[in-house]
Structures are given as structure tokens and as C-alpha cells.
């Protein structure tokens, strides 16, 4: 069974109790064929998982689940500052075992000895060094200097040596 390390980028606008926030995430996850379908386990952020019939369906479900987690956090927050704190805690909560599995999977891929499933192999490839994990949570009022060039499309990349 192969584990596939992926990286992704999302940007969302989240409304809460009297605030509007822009949340940009550069994340990590592990896609795994198991139990007759595909599972995707969050690494950054860690407390989230989803599944699908294909790797891309699993990723689409993961993406939707991530957004719904942000919506739950926004609903609980009394202010932007509280939402920012909760979103950053969600992102940074450690899962050392999953991080270790992600690193081992990346090393295995880098050796070239792993047969990569076609739909994964067709993804854009990028070196993790070029895609640091991060989260940015800003109030929309501080995003007034943004331009169209700052738009961030959803992006899924296979972590591999560039």
C-alpha cells in the first residue's frame, strides 16, 4: 500500500459574529488507498480526514470539510481575534505520527522505488521546500490593498523532488 504526500493551497472568506475574515492555507495531507476507497488524512491541519472513490474525490471532500471546520470555528467565536486564535490552533495542533508518515512517504517517493497511481502521478509536482506550510488569518479590512493578482486558486500538488 502506498501513501502519497500532497500539498494544497486554499483561500476562503469566512464570516462570523460581526467580522469578515480572509483565511489562506498552505497545507499538507496524506492520500492513501485503503478499505476499497481513498482516504485523505490531514497533516497540517491535522484534525481532519475524508474519503472518496478516487483520490480527487477524496480531496474534494477534504476541501469541503476544511471549509466547514472554519465555519464551525467562526460560529463559536465572539470576535475576529477569537476566530483567528481558534483557526491558528486548528492549523498548528500537532500530530507527530501523521507528520512522520508524511515524511516517510515523501522519502519513499523520492527514492523512485514506489509505483505511483496514475491519477496521483498526473498532479503537478513540487518540492516541499518550495511550498512551506502556513496559515494566514486576516480581517478583510486589512486586505484592502489586495489586487486581482493576489487571488489564490485551489491547488493540489504531489510532494516530490522538483
Amino acid at each position: 500500500m502506498s501513501n502519497y504526500p500532497v500539498m494544497f493551497t486554499f483561500r476562503d472568506v469566512v464570516s462570523g459574529n460581526g467580522f469578515l475574515s480572509g483565511v489562506t492555507l498552505g497545507g499538507r495531507a496524506l492520500i492513501i488507498p485503503e478499505d476499497g476507497s481513498w482516504s485523505i488524512y490531514g497533516v497540517r491541519p491535522a484534525p481532519i480526514a475524508e474519503s472518496g472513490k478516487t483520490p480527487l474525490e477524496a480531496f474534494a471532500n477534504f476541501r469541503n470539510a476544511y471549509k466547514n471546520v472554519l465555519f464551525d470555528l467562526a460560529e463559536d467565536a465572539e470576535s475576529f481575534e477569537e476566530f483567528k486564535q481558534k483557526a491558528e490552533q486548528f492549523y498548528s495542533a500537532p500530530d507527530p505520527e501523521e507528520e512522520g508518515r508524511w515524511t516517510e512517504a515523501f522519502k519513499a517517493i523520492r527514492t523512485g522505488n514506489v509505483k505511483i497511481e496514475e491519477s496521483i502521478n498526473n498532479l503537478p509536482k513540487e518540492a516541499p521546500e518550495n511550498r512551506p506550510a502556513f496559515i494566514s488569518v486576516l480581517p478583510v479590512r486589512e486586505m484592502s490593498r489586495c489586487t486581482a493578482a493576489d487571488n489564490v486558486p485551489d491547488k493540489l500538488e504531489f510532494a516530490a523532488a522538483a
Binding site: Y41, A49, S51, A65, V69, F71, E75, F90, D95
Partner: protein, 73 residues
């Protein structure tokens, strides 16, 4: 994919992470471990795919204990 019920999850947590609590949110259940960690994406339905329980147990560091209660994870 195998499924498990929320009552099985509650029994497992009582044994493997005593003191943990579960709160229903609009989209998910939040599970609060006494060590401060929060699992934010446990499905809100009565039955759920075991991968969610597997992930939560790994996140809390209780996977081996959890397997004794819900072997399918």
C-alpha cells in the same frame, strides 16, 4: 468502508481518553481531549466511517487503545 456508531466512539473515549467531552456543532462534532487538543471534524451523524475515528485516535495518540474497543479502525 466499515462504520462505527457514536455510542461506540463515546465508550472508546471513556476508556482511552477519560475526561474527554464531545460538543455538537453545525457541521461537525468537536471532541475535547483533557490534554487540551481538540478534534474538530468528527461527523455529526450517528454512524460514521471508521477513518474518522482512526484519524482522531491517531491525533490524540490513543490508536492502540482505540483498536481494542473498535477493532475495525
Amino acid at each position: 468502508m466499515a462504520q462505527a456508531s457514536i455510542s461506540e466512539v463515546e465508550s472508546m473515549l471513556a476508556e482511552c481518553a477519560p475526561g474527554s467531552t464531545i460538543k455538537m456543532k453545525t457541521h461537525f462534532r468537536h471532541v475535547y481531549h483533557p490534554n487540551g487538543k481538540v478534534y474538530t471534524a468528527l461527523p455529526k451523524y450517528d454512524n460514521m466511517q471508521v477513518l474518522h475515528i482512526r484519524k482522531m485516535a491517531r491525533f490524540f495518540g490513543i490508536l492502540e487503545c482505540a483498536k481494542k474497543h473498535i477493532p475495525s479502525i
